[in-house]
């Protein structure tokens, strides 16, 4: 034989090492995530030595630092949900339409110009977005709707939505462009229009990737801090009304972290409790998104 395989032991050793290295890398990601979660939860637990679960889930006010403290988490939850929903109402439709345009309609040259510009949106510091919401968008909306308060969830949510458009559009576009040309041809060949092909064949074919984009957008919106801290006001309020000021979980964490808190104070502990809730909420939406994706995959 001219081509003798290399020694089998060496080959096996190499395969073994490569497999172990790959496994370690993947394992590291899991370890880090679990580590962070564990720290959060162990630091959060002492909070419940001084606050009962009934207070935490039963009270509708959140004012742990006041002389008359209340420890109800719901105002922070509603603040987070309202701003997130507003942001998604902006980012998901616009981002998806942009992705369809860029992937299916835009001339390559147009795409080459628009795509980097769009991705630049994601590179602007979030503090800039925060002041943009506070000093431009809110005053603009007040012209049409004078009752709007200077700090409000609407302006913050809208600007946050604009901020996460690139996350939606960029990933969705990649997913749609990965759809084989043969599927588009198959649709067009039997008389479908370009629009029908884009929305009824390309979009569903790319849906798995597009859900990933949406999940990322949700996580981004829930976790976004600067915009809501600056523009939504820092007053916890149990309300779903977007024209009111409110405080999100992230904004609360910033607010208390800025003060000087003794290590064992309730304020210090509350940071970790809110952090843990934030973590759970993001996890919840991630799992929900994954389930939606799985369900879709099963159906098609």
């Amino acid at each position: 034989m001219l081509l003798r395989p290399k020694s089998r032991t060496i080959r096996n050793l190499k395969e073994f090492l490569i497999e172990k290295i790959l496994f370690t890398t993947a394992f590291l990601a899991v370890v880090i995530t679990v580590g962070i979660a564990l720290t959060l939860f162990t630091e959060a637990l002492p909070f419940f030595k001084s606050v009962t679960l009934k207070q935490f889930f039963g009270d509708k006010q959140w004012s742990p630092l006041f002389s008359d403290p209340h420890y109800g988490i719901w105002p922070l939850v509603t603040g987070t949900i309202v701003t997130t929903v507003i942001a998604l109402c902006i980012a998901v439709p616009i981002g998806t339409i942009m992705a369809i345009f860029l992937s299916e309609y835009a001339h390559p040259k147009v795409r080459e110009v628009i795509k980097p510009l769009l991705e630049l949106l994601a590179a602007i510091p979030t503090v800039v977005y925060g002041y943009f919401a506070l000093l431009f968008v809110t005053p603009l909306m007040q012209k049409f709707y004078p009752e709007l308060s200077g700090f409000n969830m609407l302006g913050a949510g809208v600007v946050m939505g604009v901020m996460i458009i690139p996350y939606v559009s960029s990933l969705s576009e990649d997913a749609m462009r990965a759809v084989p040309m043969a599927l588009r041809e198959g649709s067009l060949a039997i008389g479908a229009t370009k629009l029908q092909t884009s929305t009824q064949v390309v979009f569903p074919s790319a849906f798995s990737g597009i859900t990933s984009a949406y999940i990322l957008a949700i996580s981004r919106a829930i976790g976004e801090t600067m915009v809501v801290t600056i523009a939504a006001g820092m007053q916890p309020d149990f309300t779903l009304n977007p024209i009111r000021p409110a405080e999100t979980m992230t904004a609360y964490i910033v607010q208390v972290s800025m003060g000087d808190l003794p290590h064992d104070s309730i304020g210090y502990k509350s940071i970790f409790v809110v952090g843990a809730c934030l973590f759970l909420m993001t996890l919840f939406f991630n799992i929900l998104g994954q389930l939606a994706r799985k369900k879709f995959w099963k159906a098609y």
Binding site: A182, E185, G186, S187, A189, I190, G191, T193, A299, Y300
Partner: protein, 263 residues
């Protein structure tokens, strides 16, 4: 040519390709093609790789419109409408509604089996659920797939075997009652049994619809087609009844190709 006139006079003509040229940008891919395609007959396009079979076929479906820089020249007239399907004035959508295409590799949509076949009807704005169900069943019966899939119509088409997927794609093309279906090497990705089924199918389908089929397989051309066109380097070398082409071709090139003594 008397033969041609006979076809025209009998009003049996379906597609008349007249002095047709095609360009991929600067590449002159088809040169002065003349071809008469009779109604409800199957025409095979044969020839060595790169001779322009797919290019000609895709012109009939205006697929080249999808990519910039392509140019049609000359005429392809669809009868009885007398519609020049390659004219820039004619809407490619209108052409594709009358002439649908089946591809080399099965390309079912990631939808259910039912939705795949119903797709062409739905995009034409047909809303009548009964009519759609009826058409879907008839198309699936026509391609011999109904009994295999009738209990799993709502499952993904991607779960079908390659041969079943290809028949599904044919059903999808059939559902909208096209006048012509063009096939680009529809069996080259399939095993012999699946291939035999498709060939049988083509023989059945041509009772109702005109068929143009590209194939690399001489036996296949002989088995399924009534007429055969032999192409070479962008030109149509010889066109005639399949039995004549395969038994006594009039051109030396054709003979060399079909006997395998090529070049």
């Amino acid at each position: 040519m008397e033969n041609e006139n006979a076809i025209v006079n009998n009003k049996e003509l379906r597609l008349e390709v007249k002095n047709f040229n095609f360009y991929y940008g600067q590449v002159h891919a088809l040169k002065n093609i003349d071809l008469l395609i009779e109604r409800n007959k199957a025409v095979a396009l044969i020839g060595p790789s790169g001779c322009g079979k797919s290019t000609l076929l895709r012109s009939m479906n205006r697929m080249h419109d999808l990519y910039p820089g392509n140019r049609y020249e000359g005429e392809m007239i669809l009868y009885p409408e007398k519609l020049n399907i390659v004219s820039p004035k004619v809407d490619p959508l209108e052409v594709r509604m009358k002439i649908s295409m089946v591809f080399q590799k099965p390309n079912p949509f990631p939808k259910t089996i039912f939705e795949n076949v119903a797709y062409g009807l739905k995009i034409r704005g047909i809303k009548d659920k009964d009519l759609i169900a009826q058409k879907v069943q008839k198309s699936l019966e026509n391609v011999g797939l109904w009994n295999e899939v009738k209990n799993r119509l709502n499952q993904s088409a991607l779960g079908l075997s390659g041969g079943q997927q290809q028949r599904l794609c044919i059903a999808r093309a059939l559902a909208t009652d096209p006048e012509i279906i063009v096939f680009d090497e529809p069996t080259s990705a399939l095993d012999p049994i699946a291939t035999a089924k498709i060939e049988e199918l083509v023989n059945v389908l041509k009772k109702e619809v005109t068929i143009v089929i590209v194939t690399h397989n001489m036996q296949q051309a002989a088995r399924v087609s009534d007429y055969t066109a032999f192409m070479y380097m962008g030109e149509l070398i010889e066109f005639g009844e399949t039995k004549n082409i395969f038994t006594r071709p009039s051109k030396k090139l054709t003979e060399e190709y079909i006997t395998g003594h090529f070049g």
